[in-house]
């Protein structure tokens, strides 16, 4: 049978467990699975929706992000918007919150039409949003951050009443926080609390959470969900955006599935299970799934990269490596799963020597990496697809061809110090004409390209040199499904050619589809390693959130 079906089985069985037998899972929390459906129905029946979207359409150059979205949110429900990366979830929410203007379509709050031009408007009509990267100012205190968003504050801020209000709400929903603390010194979880308190004090009725759990430790996730339930009971409407089915299933009353900017369906939680959601989410057209032929790891294959008990200091809000040991052989894809900010960023950085390690040693192709320059490492056959393409991968104001040869210009043209771009382009064309991904023209300014285009550019740049070791962060992020598939294929080809790949991704399906082995990172540690056969999205998910 095709691995596709195999994968499906694994994933869906996982969710069976999640939904039906909520033992020893975070699904224990009150108000997750123990939702009385009639209760939900009652909420829905009772009144017209708190927030209603009709035919919302938003088009970006080259891609329709939202395509006639219709959506009803009722008071007192937790509504999950589910969809894979790039399905248009965030765009939709940004429209609701007034960051974008929809090309067409309208919104109504409690029946009456609402035109939202700016976040200010949306807050006035009671819509609040918690962003993936919070809208908080690190240099200011909690109280100040909140005061910044509170409507009708007096000209002279009265700190006492302010902290009064804050602690009041904090008490009510068990969000304990020190109003005078400098935000920069708070943990992610606490920052989220601040965001939440902010919304509550702003009298938001509709609370939008954009991937709130992605940067949270599991216990924090649990607390968040319990807070969700409290809020729901208070009659708030909660809009919860995620691509993690398991979370969706654990808290939702109703689930709306987005794919390619379209609403596939909106169903009550009670009527779906993991399996059906998975198929809805991934859709039907994923026919040519990448062939992940499970190669028997031949222990004789040379070890390409080896970490031995590596420690690094943590930077601001992401964990440092904590006694990490791993090794990749050639012809192997090692998947690294983990909620972002749990140390996987450092893996690549410390390898390139951008972030120096405090202990342990790293061996590349058998030699010790201390005091190797980045260029020397790259020269020795390493490629690197950074996590933030625009920020770390390309020079925005350069032309495409210039970015394609970034850093290794001396390999192109006649070599030496003089550049003849005509020559360089010719050579590039030669290399790229066999390359399956479509690339933008050589002379286009990179910052004029779409995200997907830039991603392809970088992937191409890093793969055409047939790396012996590829560090790939989220290689398919922002790519449409077809290209994503092509990219995965490329990775497999690379492995087939004997390349080793360190694949860091949040997309478990992708990891499962490609990796020979998967290690899970949590708070800088490698908490678990799965072989190809015994890996399951569900177990990985648990490990990622620090269980076991």
């Amino acid at each position: 049978m095709t691995t596709l079906q195999a994968t499906f089985k694994k994933i869906s069985t996982a969710f069976y467990k999640a939904s039906d037998a909520p033992s020893n899972t975070i699904a224990k929390e009150p108000g997750d699975t123990g939702i009385a459906p009639e209760n939900t129905n009652l909420t829905m029946g009772q009144s017209e929706p708190l927030l209603a979207l009709r035919g919302i359409t938003k088009e970006f150059p080259g891609v329709v992000a939202n395509d006639h979205i219709n959506l009803d949110i009722f008071a007192g429900e937790i509504h999950v918007i589910l969809g894979e990366n790039g399905a248009g979830k965030s765009t939709l929410m940004k429209i609701v919150y007034g960051f974008y203007q929809p090309d067409s379509g309208k919104m109504s709050i409690q029946g009456e039409e609402a035109t939202i031009r700016s976040p200010k408007d949306s807050r006035q009509i009671g819509i609040g949003m918690v962003f993936q990267n919070f809208s908080l100012i690190p240099a200011m205190t909690v109280a100040e951050n909140i005061a910044l968003f509170l409507p009708n504050q007096p000209v002279f801020l009265n700190r006492r009443t302010l902290s009064g209000q804050i602690s009041e709400v904090a008490e009510k929903f068990r969000l304990h926080i020190n109003p005078e603390a400098r935000l920069g010194e708070l943990s992610m979880g606490d920052r989220q609390k601040v965001e939440l308190i902010k919304l509550l004090l702003c009298h938001a009725r509709v609370l939008i959470f954009d991937e709130p759990t992605s940067i949270l430790a599991p216990h924090e996730v649990e607390r968040l969900f319990s807070v969700f339930d409290e809020l729901r009971k208070e009659g708030y409407a909660i809009l919860f955006i995620t691509h993690k089915l398991q979370e969706a299933l654990s808290v939702a009353h109703r689930v709306t599935v987005l794919r390619h900017g379209k609403v596939i369906t909106t169903v009550p939680r009670a009527e779906v299970d993991g399996r059906s959601l998975v198929s809805l989410m991934l859709g039907v057209e994923i026919t040519e799934e990448a062939e992940n032929t499970p190669v028997e790891q031949n222990p004789l294959n040379p070890v390409v990269l080896e970490f031995r008990n590596v420690f690094t200091s943590s930077i601001s809000d992401s964990h440092g490596l904590d006694d990490v040991s791993l090794s990749i052989q050639s012809g192997e894809i090692l998947g690294v799963a983990g909620v972002s900010g749990n140390g996987q960023q450092q893996l690549g950085e410390v390898l390139l020597g951008l972030h120096c390690k405090s202990q342990g040693n790293i061996r590349l192709f058998g030699n010790d990496l201390d005091h190797w320059s980045v260029s020397r490492i790259l020269q020795s056959g390493v490629s690197y697809i950074p996590e933030d393409i625009l920020g770390m991968g390309v020079v925005p104001q350069m032309r495409v061809c210039e970015n394609l040869v970034l850093g290794e210009i001396d390999k192109f043209g006649s070599g030496g110090t003089w550049i003849n771009w005509g020559e360089v382009k010719a050579q590039l064309d030669q290399v790229l004409n066999t390359f399956p991904l479509p690339l933008a023209g050589h002379d286009a300014r990179t910052d004029s390209l779409s995200g997907g285009n830039i991603q392809r550019l970088v992937v191409a740049r890093e793969l055409i040199c047939n790396p012996k070791l590829l560090i790939a962060y989220y290689p398919t992020r922002g790519l449409d499904v077809m290209t994503a598939e092509k990219t995965r294929k490329l990775l497999l080809d690379c492995r087939a050619k004997g390349g080793a790949i360190l694949l860091i991704s949040e997309d478990l399906d992708e990891l499962l589809a490609l990796s020979n082995r998967i290690v899970v990172m949590y708070q800088g540690k490698i908490v678990h390693e799965f072989g190809y056969c015994n890996a399951s999205a569900y177990d990985i998910g648990l490990a990622m959130t620090g269980h076991r």
Partner: protein
């Protein structure tokens, strides 16, 4: 020997406030601008505008109040150009600032020509009853003109404004992260515009204090680079109005101290002492980097390309 040092100290103190105050005003102004996440090197120009047009207005109307008003307006007028070019046309802030300093010098030299000889009553010192009698410091601090006292009060007021008022909060938010301020319903451009204008006004007042209060005269280029010292002091003060007061006082003191040292024939080059404000600022930046970086508004880091 002791008495000698006492003399020096008194001299330095009596000298300290005078030249410090105009710079202090300019520093307040620049501080507001930088808190809004911009850097305006045109402060020098605004000061000159204030000094010149403040003086002209006083000559024409024989009314110091109008003079001060005109001065601050003139300062604001010049910074208006900066505001427009930087915010609306996205010109480079440093280049625009420098140009503005030149432009101000030109305009004032040109406009003030016929007033160089003019004589004015100016702002005269008023002694504060009891405080003025404090032995050493009384005469230095509390026998000054009204603008000086205003400057004393303005420091704490600005500090309170920045930390305890809603507008102050908005201003800092804009300077820290404009997009978040926007999410908070503020219009960053508008706030920055306001901050620049206010900064220009304060610099203008500084200029007015220079020509009306301190010297009672106008000659072209009379600010002699004090606008740039103000920029240095803002950084020295790590964007706090209170520390700015200390900085300005030290700067003034340095001048007084230097003249005093000369007058006892002490073998220290005056030029070394003139370096004082700049070198100190550099030292502060070098040895308190961490604090400085934390105190520095994010927006300013953007401008200075420090987030790379």
């Amino acid at each position: 020997m002791n008495s000698l040092w006492l003399i020096i100290l008194t001299g330095a103190l009596t000298g300290a406030m005078g030249p410090g105050i105009p710079v202090l005003y300019a520093t307040y102004g620049e501080l507001l601008v930088e808190r809004a996440g911009l850097i305006n090197l045109g402060t020098e120009g605004s000061m000159l505008m204030g000094a010149c047009f403040g003086f002209i207005a006083t000559v024409e109307t024989d009314n110091v109040a109008i003079g001060i008003l005109a001065g601050s307006l003139a300062g604001a007028l010049l910074s208006l150009i900066y505001a427009y070019l930087v915010i609306k046309r996205h010109t480079n802030q440093l280049a625009t600032g420098f140009t503005l300093a030149l432009f101000g010098a030109g305009i004032t030299a040109y406009a003030g020509k016929g007033f160089v000889g003019s004589r004015i009553e100016g702002i005269n010192p008023v002694a504060i009853p009891l405080l003025a009698d404090i032995p050493l410091f009384g005469r230095a601090f509390f026998q000054q003109d009204i603008l000086t006292y205003v400057a004393y009060i303005m420091g704490p007021l600005l500090w309170a404004f920045l930390h305890y008022t809603r507008p102050g909060l908005s201003l800092r938010a804009v300077g820290e992260q404009a997009d978040i301020a926007f999410a908070g319903g503020r219009n960053p451009a508008a706030w920055q515009f306001g901050a620049i204008i206010a900064g220009g006004m304060l610099a203008g007042m500084g200029g007015a204090e220079l020509s009306l209060g301190l010297t009672h005269c106008w000659i072209e280029g009379m600010t002699a680079g004090r606008g740039f010292i103000a920029v240095a002091l803002v950084i020295f003060s790590m964007w706090s109005p209170l520390r700015a007061m200390v900085g300005a006082f030290l700067f003034g003191g340095a001048i007084g101290f230097q003249l005093q040292l000369q007058s006892i024939g002490a073998p220290i080059s005056p030029f070394v002492l003139d370096m004082f404000p700049y070198v100190i600022t550099l030292f502060v930046l070098t040895f308190w980097t961490g604090i400085a970086l934390r105190a520095m508004p994010e927006g300013l880091k953007e401008v200075l390309k420090m987030n790379a």
